[in-house]
Assembly symmetry: C2
Homo-oligomer: 337 residues x 2
DNA sequence: CGCTACGCTGTAAGCGTTTCCACCCTGTAC
DNA sequence: GTACAGGGTGGAAACGCTTACAGCGTAGCG
């Protein structure tokens, strides 16, 4: 473990150092640095110059202490490698920046158990926390709800937890996707799952099960929402002899298609594959992916609106689910005769 | 802008609240919370219980103030959407976590001008800063070098700047890639560039220009290292009638191939395409990408070693470049006759 | 010319923690 | 029974900053 020594007092350039060097009081330096209050122009210039020379940088800790806020927003998500998350984060980032908030992103890929710990830890130094596709158990969520710091749930709906939340509708479009498949004649499909802890995975699976009314028989095989995860599960999936593979997300679909090709199976001539999310690459893959375009921009915007409201202690009515659309491209086709 | 009100003193649960509620001094509470010093077991238990009930959470700001450190590491990178960056960050994350550091990731995608500002801003609340593929001008780097906080440059080599740095060799493998292309008979290629501000782009281009000795004539067309960027520049690239398109990175290659397919051109039968980085998806695309496997694990490990050394004020000898290897897959082939 | 008023600067009081130091209390040894 | 040692606890200073408040000087007006 790295040595945790205090910064030697002699080294650190504080507001005092600057004040002394400039021959003014620390109050003046503070005023100059914040730029707000009235200070005689040439005095301000002198202070600025000295601060510059000393490369003075106000201590965020001290400033945060007295201000009661660091103007930081925390974002926690399962997997930064998934461009989908990143896109909604980026959109939130716009809003946050406009409102003067910095955004700190933490990812707990690999260990879902770390998520709550990470959240609690981060909670100490942020004004608000955004949980994307959180996998924290309900009890943990309740603990989070008790904290003074606002916590926003994105892409997870949890009844009975008093937290603002916003999510994309997963059920309806997945139902539509199944309808599309049914129309093409598919009757036996395999769902390549995401994490069981993820609300989105549960919703998508719920829709697929419901597709029984369309005459579709579905089996689920476990995976993890990554490219490799998709690649690795194909053998098992094929044992169920499906005519279509419905994947948890686009990344998984990519891995699945890769393995299928390796096995000499053509998509969609021999077997159909669908994704979910419509990340950038989806439309550029070969074959171009039939998937669900989950509105990242909208989601990001609404998420930030909710967060801002929470920061201002406004009560918000949880909005309805944001709707998503199926986009049919090349990876799905009629059942081979 | 969200209202910046101070947290009402009445609401915040501080160490004082706990001390009063437990009927002890704040010193005792502090000792109990940090768990280190000796406190009578049942007193400690009582304090813990009270703290729990009040859901007391020590102020990071206050703690950071007195400790002189928040044990935060800052990471700044150009584009989180690029899995390559993410992979090396993840690796560093392991090291950082093991050493008790939290990692805060900031991305300045879209506006390179923001990078220095972001860096300076972040500098205030971290114990160290890692710049990935930084595009900050040399002068900005020098400013960073003057700060007390250690700053590490990853994947950028800048002579004359007194900053620790570590990078993957871009020149040699790009040269090899050109050799591979030359052997296949390619003589006229187009380089689809990354940002001119990026050291890696300059290195790669330097290698390609040098490939003249192999009989390769190269032209460069501007792009931005994204999928869309690759897609959009294909028309222009084709005006130079190349037999191969060498792309700045895998993402760009994906976009390029997508557009090529749209134009009815087959890869590699009609035209060859190469990538760089070997991100996860590269080996799963159709066609599987010929690219350079840039050692993310090694890079991440070495980066953290250097950072730890810097945190401990150890002097380090900058290691040589980390070598990378060409991996030949399906996207390159002989020149069509 | 004197008084008022206003604008600029400095003093000092916190913000919530950690930790040094002093203190008290108990138990032990003489 | 008294003195001493030592562990456990509380008091208080310090970390660097912001800001209310006070104080000073100057300019304008009567």
């Amino acid at each position: 473990m790295a040595d945790q020594t205090r910064v030697p007092a002699s080294r650190r350039v504080t507001i005092n150092t600057v004040a002394k060097a400039a021959g003014v009081s620390i109050a003046t330096v503070s005023r100059v640095m914040s730029g707000s209050s009235s200070v005689t122009p040439d005095l301000a210039a002198r202070v600025h110059k000295v601060a510059e020379e000393l490369s003075y940088r106000p201590s965020t800790a001290a400033r945060g202490l007295v201000l009661g806020s660091l103007r930081n927003m925390g974002v926690i998500l399962p997997d930064l490698a998934n461009a989908y998350f990143f896109d909604v984060v980026k959109q939130m980032h716009h809003g946050a920046t406009a409102d003067g908030y910095r955004m700190l992103v933490a990812d707990y890929s690999g260990d879902a158990a770390d998520e709550l710990a990470t959240a609690l830890d981060l909670l100490g130094q942020v004004d608000g926390l955004v949980l994307l596709s959180s996998r924290i158990p309900t009890s943990g969520l309740k603990e989070l709800a008790r904290q003074a710091t606002p916590v926003l749930l994105v892409n997870r709906v949890e009844l009975g937890v008093d937290l603002p939340m916003v999510a994309v509708d997963n059920f309806t479009p997945m139902m539509e996707l199944c309808g599309h498949l049914a129309k093409l004649g598919h009757r036996r499909i395999v769902y390549v799952k995401g994490s069981d802890l993820a609300w989105q995975n549960r919703e998508r699976w719920r829709a697929i099960e419901m597709a029984k009314v369309l005459g579709i028989e579905a089996t689920a095989v476990p995976s993890d929402g990554t490219i490799e995860g998709g690649y690795d599960v194909v053998e098992e999936a094929l044992t169920h002899e499906p005519t279509a593979l419905v994947c948890f997300n686009d990344l998984t679909a990519l891995g699945v298609i890769s393995k299928l090709r390796e096995r000499g199976l053509r998509v969609p001539e021999d077997i159909s594959v669908t994704g979910f999310d419509d990340i950038d690459m989806a439309r550029h893959l070969a074959p171009r992916l039939t998937t669900v375009v989950s509105p990242k921009i909208d989601l990001g915007d609404q998420a930030w609106s909710l967060m801002r409201a929470a920061l201002n202690n406004e009560t918000t009515t949880s909005p309805p689910l944001i709707s998503a659309d199926v986009v049919i491209r090349e990876s799905t086709g009629p059942v081979p005769s």
